[in-house]
Subunit: 131 residues, 2 copies
Amino acid sequence: MLAPLVRDMMAAELPVLEANGLSMWGYSVLVALDRSAIRTQAALAEAIGADKTRIIAILDELQDRGLIERVPDPEDRRARLLAITKAGRRAKEATQAAIQQGEERWLGRLSPGDRAAFVRILQELSGVDWS
Amino acid sequence: MLAPLVRDMMAAELPVLEANGLSMWGYSVLVALDRSAIRTQAALAEAIGADKTRIIAILDELQDRGLIERVPDPEDRRARLLAITKAGRRAKEATQAAIQQGEERWLGRLSPGDRAAFVRILQELSGVDWS
DNA sequence: TATTGTTATACTCTATAACTATA
DNA sequence: TATAGTTATAGAGTATAACAATA
């Protein structure tokens, strides 16, 4: 039941991301880095559930566009210190606002009580260990 | 929040499907055909949210293994009448039981009230038009 | 020798278009 | 000519393994 729901949701939100010039993974990176800077790319990949080889092209592009910073750690020059820039934060905020507006279209169908319960239950389920 | 949840869920349930010798799409087909027989492959594809060209290999395999029937409609020999077989229904029931057992692992964390609410809310959201 | 990031490669999934057969 | 199914092909997304730099 969840799978088709998420599929429809992503199909609806992909154009929103595109309008803001971000891919799904690019957006995920900005959201993660907005929470806090990260010291290695592998840690970032893990945080957003991606592969470390997969985020490289994404980081390249975000950096080229000035949305993130990516500098070698002076204390361990193998690692790259990752942080969001002001422009990156602006892009993230704008995109997030657009997405949340889209989510209103379906969350708005729920009663306020159901809506609160739904979000609370999702948070609970997100803590489950799947291994 | 939903996307990582579904990703983890699918990762957890894929081995269960595999153990029962079914792919995700193969299982979807059996579930759809168990509800009712379908008159064309295009309609089946639409019902499970797939592409009509994509289900062909899946139908080939399910048919070879005797899990579905697929015969030309005598009234319009372009179309293929699709139905689940007894063996197919057995395979579907067994797989479904295994999957639902897996779902207990996380639904079991919820209080009975939350659990009922969650399922009800999901059903409500599934009715949303996304276009 | 181990680790971080990168590149190269192959593999899977999916979508598009061309084709066959029926109507 | 239009439709159901099929096949072929190309593209995107992903994972694996090999490589370079640093520790």
